[in-house]
């Protein structure tokens, strides 16, 4: 399980404690937002609940470890460029690898199931999750596979200091990457291809009648979803959330599922808002409920997304931003 790591100096005041916690919460929220956004893009385009999202995140983290650390590709050919660029290029290749796996899943398992009950397809993704997660875990092995990111491996040195508020570089990188990716996705929806995607999400048949290749939209949605999951996986496997890719990296998606439901399965805005919101609540609870862990149990914060989800569903059965299903006989 990824714990919440907030560095607090002994002499930190309440305000400084709150600031550190809020920044950690934003970092956690950024990860949830990335996972939820990828999930919602897949769901909107293809109506598929992707239970394999966690496996894709872990696979992304592993592929980045493989290209950036194990192979050092293409870093070994580019010795003069700075570390950050070398690492980012390798990471990009890893993320593209995850996108390719997403594309393969769509082509092999999802495309033939068009028109089948949604439940069947959802269970198929459960099967994909079992396969992908087992293979990824076998590739990762029993140890911790460090990502060797050029920013923020050392929690004591790679930090910004602001009074007693300690902000790890990697936390900033997480939030920055999420914001940039969310912004790029928003821009993408304005392009020609993005418009085709939105049209398909709105009504598949009319989109087809307008000459949009729905198959291509499906494939693209899975590639975008898988890459966003992979980016989230990379940041989960990085300090301060974890020391590297491990067999538990995939489990983060299990806490992102309630986030998606809270936002509403078919709402892009909901995914982002709920992502940051739940991340903040979870980390705040982790820090401020710590004294009560005797009664609440160790790791209570990990089930907070689920409890929030149950509460939201009782009030709004379709999530906060989700569209209400119209039921016809």
């Amino acid at each position: 399980m990824t714990g919440h790591f907030v560095v607090l100096a002994q002499t930190a005041t309440e305000l400084e404690k709150l600031s550190s916690t809020l920044i950690a919460g934003l970092g956690q929220g950024a990860i949830y937002a990335l996972l939820a956004l990828g999930f919602v893009i897949i769901f909107k385009a293809t109506q598929v609940i992707n239970f394999a999202h966690g496996a894709l995140a872990a696979l992304g983290a592993y592929l980045v470890v493989y290209f950036a650390v194990t192979l050092n590709f293409p870093g070994r050919f580019l010795s003069q460029v700075p570390d950050l660029v070398q690492w980012s290029v390798s990471a990009l290749i890893g993320v593209l690898g995850a996108a390719l796996v997403g594309l393969l899943i769509e082509l092999l398992f999802i495309r033939p199931m068009i028109g089948e009950p949604l439940f069947s397809v959802a269970i198929i993704t459960l099967g994909i999750d079992a396969i992908l997660r087992t293979i990824t875990n076998d590739l990762i092995g029993t140890g911790i596979r460090n990502l060797d990111a050029p920013f923020g491996d050392n929690l004591l040195e790679d930090v910004f200091l602001w009074g007693n508020v300690i902000v790890p570089h990697s936390q900033i990188a997480t939030i920055l990457a999420a914001v940039v990716l969310l912004f790029l996705t928003a821009l993408f929806f304005r392009t020609r291809t993005g418009t085709a995607m939105r049209a398909t999400a709105f009504d598949q048949e009319s989109a087809m009648a307008q000459g949009i290749s729905v198959g291509k939209v499906f494939a693209l949605a899975w590639m975008i979803g898988a890459s966003l999951a992979a980016v989230a996986g990379v940041f989960v496997a990085m300090p301060p959330r974890g020391a590297g890719a491990t067999v538990t990296t995939a489990l983060v998606a299990l806490r992102a599922f309630p986030v998606i439901v809270i936002g509403g399965l078919d709402s892009v805005v909901g995914a982002v808002v709920a992502g940051f919101g739940v991340g903040l609540v979870e980390v705040l609870a982790a820090i401020y409920l710590l004294p009560y862990s005797d009664t609440l149990g160790v790791g209570f914060s990990t089930i907070i997304p689920w409890l929030l989800m149950l509460a939201v569903l009782l009030i709004r059965p379709h999530g906060i931003f989700g569209t209400e299903e119209i039921r016809r006989v």
């Binding site: 269970i123 198929i124 099967g127 079992a130 076998d138 990990t302 689920w306």
Partner: protein, 409 residues
């Protein structure tokens, strides 16, 4: 005319629990076959009476009871539940609080099986009744997430409540499968130690086999009767189109409640039996994978029919043992150079060469355990894509082929 399938000359015949002679003969043969297995008297089948396979059959029957609950809830009533593992756990922990031995740090009343086994069904059923109203409000895929949430919240509770569960990674002693009158008494019938029954030497697993067989037959009959009665038809109406069912006068909320209650009851019994039979289970064992296993059983066997749950559980619980045996044969082939060596070389990896199954836990390739999970996933996918009716559907197709032979339809 006699024995013509699907031709019923009276309403009673149409409504009979086993309408055709073929069904009655197959059922009789199947039960007789099961009864004879542990006795090891039938030549050629003595191998199945070994402890290894009895273990598979016992576990298959336990899983089958749980899967029958899911058949009612998901197969018939169409309510997607990923929370079966949670209800199984509640059953198991009810059983251990009532039937387990208490110590200074662990709760346990040491009551006999005729109290803890029914209670292990009733307590989850009560919780199922509490969850059911949310199934009326939260529909379809959202319900899948609610039940998934139960598994994770449950996992946290079981980790935290060490005084019931024994604590994470540790677990505790479960109640024994033995019929006693009251606590501390000598067992009247002991299903957990070897002994002689009616002149047959039986191991502990063989004795448990008979207890489980009786329970399975009871639960299978309950499921079968429920599904052909008013309740089952109401379930199917809700599954096929809930609003239409409501308009026809099916009380949706009430029948969803009944479905959840029965399904959780079955799950609880199955969980308690699984724990008592295994002897040791850590709190982490009641996880999402167990729920997925249950779903895999009914999907691969054939959702919404009793025989589907039975076929599915025998197939899926037997699979790991078959994989293990095959692996051992392959390893022998690799080491001793039998006729299948080239094929075996392809599958088994011993160092760095390519292969699917690895004998070295750190080497490339999957361990036997991992291979089983991959096979589960693959089977779920393949059955849903190519045979949505499951093993039962394959049987129907074979039957129809012979029924209409020599014509194709």
């Amino acid at each position: 005319m006699r024995g013509r399938p699907l031709l019923y000359t009276s309403y009673e015949q149409d409504q009979a629990i086993f309408p055709t002679p073929t069904q009655r003969v197959i059922l009789f043969l199947f039960v007789a076959f099961l009864i004879l297995i542990p006795l090891q008297v039938v030549p050629g089948l003595t191998d199945l009476g070994e402890d290894k396979w009895l273990n598979v059959f016992d576990r298959a029957m336990i899983f089958c009871i749980g899967a029958l609950g899911l058949t009612l809830l998901t197969g018939l009533a169409g309510q997607v539940s990923l929370g079966h593992a949670f209800f199984m756990a509640v059953g198991a922990y009810t059983a251990v609080v009532l039937g387990g031995q208490g110590t200074a740090s662990l709760w346990g009343l040491g009551l006999p099986i005729w109290i803890w086994l029914p209670a292990a069904g009733l307590v989850p059923a009560l919780i199922g009744v509490m969850v059911a109203p949310s199934a009326v409000r939260v529909r379809g895929l959202y319900l899948a997430f609610v039940t998934l949430g139960l598994v994770f919240i449950g996992e946290h509770l079981f980790r935290t409540m060490g005084f019931i569960t024994g604590g994470p990674g540790l677990g505790r002693d479960w109640p024994r499968l033995a019929l006693t009158v009251w606590r501390g008494d000598e067992p009247l019938i002991d299903f957990s130690t070897p002994g002689t029954w009616l002149g047959f030497e039986l191991g502990a697993r063989a004795k448990a086999f008979y207890l489980l067989l009786v329970l399975l037959i009871i639960f299978a009959l309950v499921t079968k009767n429920l599904s052909r009665a008013r309740t089952g038809r109401a379930f199917m109406a809700i599954r096929d189109r809930d609003i239409a069912a409501e308009i026809m006068g099916v009380a949706e909320a009430r029948y969803k409640l009944i479905a959840f209650a029965f399904s959780s009851f079955f799950a609880g019994i199955s969980g308690a039996l699984l724990a008592a039979f295994s002897g040791i289970l850590v709190p982490e064992a009641w996880n999402l994978f167990l729920s997925v296993q249950m779903i895999a059983i009914i999907l691969i066997g054939g959702a919404s029919v009793v025989s589907g749950a039975i076929l599915g559980s025998i197939f899926l619980i037997g699979l790991p043992q078959i994989v293990e045996d095959l692996t051992r044969i392959m390893v022998d082939q690799v080491n001793e150079g039998g006729p299948l060596k080239p094929l075996a070389d392809l599958f088994i990896t011993q160092g760095a060469d390519f292969g699917f199954i690895s004998l070295d836990p750190n080497g490339p390739g999957l361990s036997v355990f991992q291979l089983n999970i991959v096979l589960y996933g693959l089977l779920i996918i393949l059955f849903l894509m190519f045979e949505p009716l499951g093993l039962y559907g394959i049987w129907i197709r074979i039957r129809n082929y012979f029924k209409t032979w020599p014509f194709t339809y």
